[in-house]
């Protein structure tokens, strides 16, 4: 049966609903800039009236639920792109530093090789000129330095990446711990049919940070989310997190071990960790191999040319460069073997003024060198091409993932993001419905007054 009481109680429910709605709007606005916050909306539901004939209106409004609007698929896509971006950026950072040593300057390997051949050609016009002889030794020294510098730049990058790997693993362990701690709490909420709310937002943010660091596979289970690395090493299962360990291997590199001590370094990909490991263990060793081959073959070729001729004292030529027995580390260790200009084996017949053997040195410039079968210049040019391509590809990947993330984030924002404008209009709406409900209360109160003073002298 309708009554003033019913009207009053509907009005007071309406006030309460409006208040909750206002609180939701306030909460959204307050969190407009909170990273990872998914906006909440109230679901109003009208309360049906008693089924007592057609004259009964509804029984007001109630708040069925407060929902967080999230899109799990977009979230997973964003995490995936973040992993790709982390990896690309890690590689790009290293390669950009490596690239400087292969950029043409007054001291790069290509320039110094040319300078060495030029100095030998100058000597061929005046084989007994001691200044010209000294210039050859100086050019040789400069080239050895250029090789040393290039090699050191590469190995220094590896050292830096070792530190990076250690740091990443430590951060990963912290994050997996925090993620695991949230799992039971979120699972409890979900088992009651509720959305994970702010806790879910927090966990999503942690997973995003983790994605920046490493590639992870994410699956849902009854105990919350399960995280594992690319090859299945578990990181988080339910409330438990599994810490990764680092150890320095016999190769001087930092290796990553799973909780059981198995070496999983080569299986890791994605994120800063994956990118760093790839650069350190694949890209840089590949470049070092080529560099070492070039230094080794070049040094040996020069030594062979020396052995073919005679120095200024009529003695058979000795080594020009100190070259190790194998090409391993050749670029780091190559150095000059002679410091006395008269030991350059320019002569082909033992007389001091003969330049006949210098042609053997000059021929090195145009002959296929060692195992690569390329001339020194071509060999170096290939190396530069490779470094350039690797860097350019990493750059392109980094740009592509940035652009992709922008799109995905915009899409996610359209679902979950707080629009200040929208909340402002909601604020106005809820303010008005609050005012309307309050007006009803005032009106009912006045009607009560009328009712109570009905038939008395006070009712005038």
């Amino acid at each position: 049966m309708s009554s003033l009481n019913t009207a009053l109680s509907i009005a007071s429910e309406a006030l309460s609903a409006s208040t909750t709605a206002l609180q939701t709007v306030t909460n959204n606005m307050a969190n407009a800039n909170t990273p990872g916050y998914t906006r909440e909306v109230v679901e109003f539901q009208s309360v049906p009236g008693d089924n007592n004939g057609s004259a009964n209106p509804g029984d007001g409004v109630t708040i069925a639920s407060v929902q967080s609007l999230r899109d799990e698929l977009l979230q997973r896509q964003i995490e995936q792109q973040t992993q790709d971006q982390g990896s690309a950026n890690a590689q790009l950072g290293s390669l950009q530093q490596i690239q400087t040593v292969f950029t043409t300057s007054s001291q790069d390997i290509g320039t110094e090789m040319s300078a060495l051949f030029s100095s030998i050609s100058t000597l061929s016009t005046a084989p007994t000129n001691s200044a010209d002889r000294q210039a050859v030794l100086t050019a040789g020294q400069n080239l050895a330095n250029a090789f040393n510098t290039a090699s050191n730049t590469l190995t220094q990058q590896q050292t830096a990446l070792n530190a990076q790997v250690t740091q990443d693993v430590s951060q990963i362990n912290q994050l997996t711990q925090q993620i695991a701690a949230l799992n039971p709490q979120i699972a409890a909420l979900q088992s009651q049919g509720q959305d994970g709310g702010t806790l879910q937002d927090q966990q999503d943010q942690l997973v995003l940070q983790l994605s920046q660091l490493t590639g992870v596979t994410i699956t849902n289970s009854n105990d919350g989310i399960t995280l594992s690395t690319g090859n299945g090493t578990p990181l988080v299962m339910g409330s438990q997190s599994f810490a990764l360990q680092t150890t320095t291997g016999s190769d001087g590199m930092v290796h990553v071990l799973d909780a059981n001590g198995n070496d999983i370094t080569s299986t890791l990909s994605g994120g800063d960790l994956g990118g760093s490991i790839q650069t350190r263990d694949q890209t840089i060793p590949g470049l070092l191999n080529q560099l070492n081959s070039l230094a080794y073959d070049f040094g040996n070729a020069f030594n062979a040319a020396q052995a073919n001729g005679y120095d200024q004292n009529g003695n058979p030529g000795g080594d020009f460069f100190n070259v190790p027995a194998t090409s391993a580390n050749a670029a780091a260790s190559i150095s000059m073997a002679i410091s006395d200009p008269s030991l350059i084996a320019a002569s082909s017949d033992g007389t001091s003024g003969s330049n006949g053997n210098l042609a053997n040195f000059s021929a090195i410039q145009t002959s296929p060198l060692g195992s690569s079968g390329q001339t020194p210049t071509d060999s170096y040019a290939s190396l530069v091409y490779q470094v350039g391509t690797l860097t350019s590809n990493a750059n392109a990947e980094s740009n592509a993932t940035s652009s992709s993330l922008l799109q995905l984030n915009n899409q996610l924002n359209s679902v979950s993001g707080v629009s200040i404008d929208q909340e402002s209009t909601n604020l106005i709406s809820y303010q008005q419905s609050y005012e309307a409900a309050a007006r009803v209360v005032t009106t009912v109160q006045a009607l009560y007054q009328v009712l109570l003073t009905m038939g008395t002298s006070a009712a005038e």
Binding site: F117, S121, S124, S354, T377, G388, S392, L406
Partner: protein, 401 residues
């Protein structure tokens, strides 16, 4: 699509335009489109090859210049020789006409002797410290005054050298003959003795490298003596064997107007193009030896001093033949000089070609770079202006109260 905020898009756009601006600025400053291999890996690799070729062309150009000077020097020396020979022919012709007195002929002989000295000086010409006509033995003068007798520094009457005295392995002893114009070189092997050297001298004589009458003996003072028994012949002996001590000419045995060639026949080749080398020197043995210049001059001087008219005439014929021969020897040198001049122009063009190749690979014109920069600035300003307009505005700005 519901849009909540435009800040991420604005951030991204600003980042893009700033990057473009930075790149455009760098290209304008350096004049290079490719400042790092990643800017264009293929162009960077090609550029390295091109720069290496440029460096070679620069070097060839420098070599051409050095050789031009060197060969010009050699050519002037040969000019001196040619004019001296012409003067000698004039002297000889005068002396051969039978009207000159003995005293006059002596004067002519003296003048001819002086011409010979000039020729020898020219043969010993040097350029920047290196002797031009010594082959690859360019550290010492190639034409040396000869003597009949050379003795070793070692060996005395009380402790004489002998045929069984061992020589230092690897030591080199040379005997240069003014008459044949050739040099015998003896390199001692392990176990060789002075006797081995003596046998080598004998076989050099049989082979004609040394003229008949040259012997190697132990003299009364216990020294190794290498000498010719022909008083008008001369030799020059050198040895670096410490067992012998240094070989020196016995005093009073120098032969007037006799010079031996102590250089060698080696020709240094120098590269002045990717597939072009030129001979950088002319050995004295070819220049004067093949032409018998010294021999002919010596013959002329002797004939003028005390020969018959017939003999003087014969000597003039010899000197004339020698002059013709020198002219022939000179031709390749002059050809080389011409070749070098042509190569100089060619290399100049090559350098221009390579330079423009490099520009097209990695360079950027100032005009293009400046245009890129203005466009980048425009884009950047547009984004910033749009952002400034749009970002701060929300509904709240417009709601009253």
């Amino acid at each position: 699509m519901r849009v909540t905020t435009m800040v991420p898009n604005v951030d991204y756009d600003i980042q893009q335009t700033q990057q473009a601006l930075s790149t455009a600025l760098q290209q304008l400053e350096t004049g290079q489109r490719v400042n790092a291999p990643s800017d264009d890996p293929a162009a960077a690799a090609d550029s390295i090859r091109s720069l290496a070729e440029s460096a070679n062309v620069d070097q060839y150009t420098a070599n051409v210049s050095t050789l031009q000077s060197q060969l010009q020097s050699a050519d002037s020396a040969i000019s001196n020789i040619v004019s001296s020979l012409n003067s000698a022919i004039t002297l000889g012709t005068t002396g051969a006409n039978g009207t000159e007195s003995a005293a006059n002929r002596q004067i002519l002989a003296t003048q001819a002797s002086s011409l010979l000295s000039t020729i020898v000086s020219a043969g010993n010409a040097s350029y920047q410290g290196s002797y031009l006509f010594g082959g690859s033995a360019s550290m010492s003068a190639p034409f040396v005054a000869a003597s009949t007798t050379y003795v070793s520094g070692s060996g005395t009457t009380s402790s004489p050298l002998s045929a069984s005295t061992a020589l230092t392995a690897g030591s080199v002893t040379t005997i240069s003959d003014a008459t044949t114009g050739q040099t015998m070189t003896f390199t001692a092997a392990a176990g060789d003795t002075i006797g081995t050297l003596q046998a080598a001298v004998a076989s050099a004589v049989s082979a004609g490298t040394l003229s008949a009458g040259i012997t190697a003996t132990i003299n009364a003072s216990g020294q190794l003596q290498i000498a010719t028994n022909n008083s008008s012949d001369g030799i020059v002996v050198n040895s670096d064997d410490s067992v012998l001590g240094s070989m020196s000419a016995a005093s009073g045995t120098s032969v007037a107007n006799a010079y031996a060639y102590v250089g060698n026949n080696a020709v240094n080749q120098v590269q002045v193009g990717d597939s072009m080398t030129v001979a950088a020197n002319l050995p004295g043995s070819q220049l004067l030896g093949n032409s018998n210049v010294l021999d002919a001059m010596s013959q002329l001087i002797t004939a003028l001093q005390n020969g018959t008219t017939q003999q003087i005439g014969d000597a003039v014929t010899a000197v004339t033949a020698a002059l013709n021969s020198v002219d022939v020897q000179r031709v390749p040198l002059d050809n080389t000089i011409t070749q070098l001049n042509n190569q100089e122009s060619y290399l100049g063009q090559e350098q221009v070609t390579l330079s423009s190749q490099q520009t097209s690979l990695t360079g950027i014109s100032e005009a293009e770079a400046a245009t890129n920069l203005s466009q980048a600035e425009l884009a950047s300003n547009t984004v910033l202006a749009a952002a400034a307009k749009v970002v701060p505005e929300t509904l709240l700005n417009y709601l009253q109260g």
